[in-house]
């Protein structure tokens, strides 16, 4: 689109959202000094793999990588979508790859049906479970819902992986303007405990431990014990507990903890549970980990003022806000909320004027 304008960044941080912003805005991005001071400089295998995946999802994207791997230039093409398969390296879980894809998929030419193979649950990125139960419902706030699905076909714990998930994402013409300012009260807690290639009792032990803390708050708690057997359970042993709390206004808060060597399932559950409470205590309508996704979609909304109540931004969120301004010229207004019921509330109201981003790639037939 806008030829000649190249947005320039340095360093490997915030790699994913910058690439996604570039493709959405149609502006080229150049990222240099990628670990140039490191003993092992340049892009990592998962970053190269992400670039490959973006190449598959789009049509006409030109990616140039310098010989040392410390600089890249991406000239975005159109988001093509369609049926795709991608093998993820074992250095990052499928969540790493799904996150930027989810930002792009609603604006594709054809609905995305993406199969990813690799690790489905790890400590760094959203597990497939959280993606399915928390991230995707956030898209529904923007009117992306019919046919939106993430199927977990096989689980894959690190280090061996062997998992497989399929993302089905519909396309939209435009996303809705968000107006989400009422956090509501937590009405239910759900969870998924899974254990693969270990004693299946582990998931029950995690459920017990989590309930021992959560039962005091509300009765509506259901933690599902998800059993995968044989081929479906991947190549390595592991277990994890994902929790989510839903409020009366459908605000979602989530947490997760995954198995570590030498740590009892009860302690993993305790970790996940406490992380959930910590997330709930931060308040707002959006889970802190999902701020970036929501803010990005707010920017792409129709030409109207969208607003959302959230807790304080994380460093990632702050950088996203800055980068959004570079690509779209849109900045947010962020003001404190005076909440009469809770004077200590640190919640902020984020509002912005949507860019009216229209999916021009969409097949009109």
């Amino acid at each position: 689109m806008a030829a000649g304008s190249v947005i320039q960044y340095s360093g490997h941080k915030y790699f994913r959202h910058r690439l996604a912003l570039s493709i959405l805005s149609g502006k080229s991005v150049r990222i240099d000094k990628i670990r140039s001071e490191d003993k092992n400089p340049g892009l990592r295998d998962f970053e190269v793999s992400l670039l490959r995946l973006l190449e598959k999802v789009t049509n006409g994207t030109v990616i140039e990588i310098s010989t040392t791997g410390t600089a890249i230039l991406l000239k975005p093409g159109i988001i093509a979508g369609g049926s795709l398969v991608h093998d993820c390296p074992l250095s990052r879980s499928v969540g790493y790859f799904l996150e930027p894809i989810i930002m792009l998929a609603p604006f594709a030419k054809r609905p995305v049906q993406l199969t990813l193979r690799g690790i489905t649950t790890d400590d760094n990125d959203f597990s497939a479970d959280l993606m399915r139960t928390v991230t995707l419902p956030h898209l529904q706030l923007f009117g992306i819902s019919d046919g939106l699905e993430l199927r977990i076909k096989k689980r894959g714990a690190p280090p061996g992986g062997g998992g497989e998930v399929q993302l089905l994402c519909p396309i939209v013409k435009q996303v809705k303007t968000l107006n989400f300012v009422e956090p509501g009260k937590i009405k239910r807690i759900r969870g998924i405990a899974h254990a693969v290639r270990v004693n299946p009792q582990f998931s029950n032990r995690m459920i017990e431990a989590a309930r021992s803390i959560l039962n005091r708050y509300i009765p509506d708690i259901y933690i599902y014990s998800d059993v995968y057997k044989g081929e479906e359970s991947g190549k390595s042993p592991g277990y994890a507990l994902s929790l989510l709390a839903e409020s009366t206004t459908s605000a979602l808060f989530c947490s997760e903890a995954t198995s570590k060597p030498g740590v009892a399932p009860e302690d993993i559950a305790l970790q996940a549970t406490r992380a959930l409470l910590s997330e709930i205590s931060k308040g707002g309508c959006i889970d802190q980990k999902h701020q970036s996704l929501v803010l990005l979609l707010m920017v792409l909304g129709s030409e109207d003022v969208g607003c959302c109540r959230m807790s304080q931004p994380t460093p990632r969120t702050i950088q996203l806000l800055r980068d959004v301004r570079d690509f779209f010229g849109t900045s947010f207004q962020i003001v404190s909320i005076e909440d009469p019921t809770n004077p200590n509330s640190a919640d902020l109201l984020y509002s912005c004027y949507g860019t009216g981003h229209v999916n021009a790639n969409r097949d009109l037939a």
């Binding site: 490997h12 941080k13 915030y14 790699f15 994913r16 670990r35 490191d38 003993k39 092992n40 990592r44 250095s91 969540g95 790493y96 996150e99 400590d123 760094n124 990125d125 959203f126 009260k185 937590i186 009405k187 803390i213 005091r216 708050y217 509300i218 009366t248 997760e256 970790q271 549970t273 406490r274 992380a275 409470l277 910590s278 709930i280 205590s281 308040g283 802190q288 980990k289 304080q312 931004p313 994380t314 460093p315 990632r316 969120t317 702050i318 950088q319 806000l321 800055r322 301004r325 900045s331 947010f332 207004q333 962020i334 003001v335 404190s336 019921t341 809770n342 902020l348």
Partner: protein, 126 residues
């Protein structure tokens, strides 16, 4: 008004009109209750830059005595895990939920709040 500590700051300005790194902005805010850090952060730009180099990355708070920082090699964290979506909660952050008062403190956020703590929290019913 002047008596109140300026806890409510201008996020919009900090984010869009300063050159502070995201971590610096967040650490300033989260430490606004413990004024020593805020003062430290505001003292001089040089100081701020140094602070940032120590824990360059993804801890929300400036962890003054975080053992995790020393356990994990900062360079490996920096190089490979910077772009991660899950937030790392410090053990201290998690441990505070062992406390009964802490557990009770968020009861008002649940639907059961009105019926169970009518005296205390009845005000925000409906």
């Amino acid at each position: 008004l002047s008596l109140r500590r300026p806890t409510r700051r201008d996020w919009t300005k900090d984010i869009y009109s300063t050159n502070l790194s995201p971590e610096q902005i967040v650490s300033q805010y989260s430490s606004s209750s413990s004024r020593s850090l805020t003062a430290h952060a505001q003292r001089s730009d040089v100081d701020v830059v140094e602070m940032d180099n120590e824990d360059d990355g993804f801890f929300f708070k400036k962890p003054s005595n975080d053992t995790e920082n020393t356990l994990l090699d900062p360079s490996t964290m920096l190089s490979d895990l910077a772009d991660k979506s899950k937030s790392e909660l410090s053990p201290a952050e998690l441990d505070k939920w062992a406390d009964e008062d802490m557990l009770e403190s968020i009861r008002r956020l649940f639907i059961t709040a009105v019926t169970e703590t009518t005296g205390e929290d009845g005000g925000d019913g409906a």
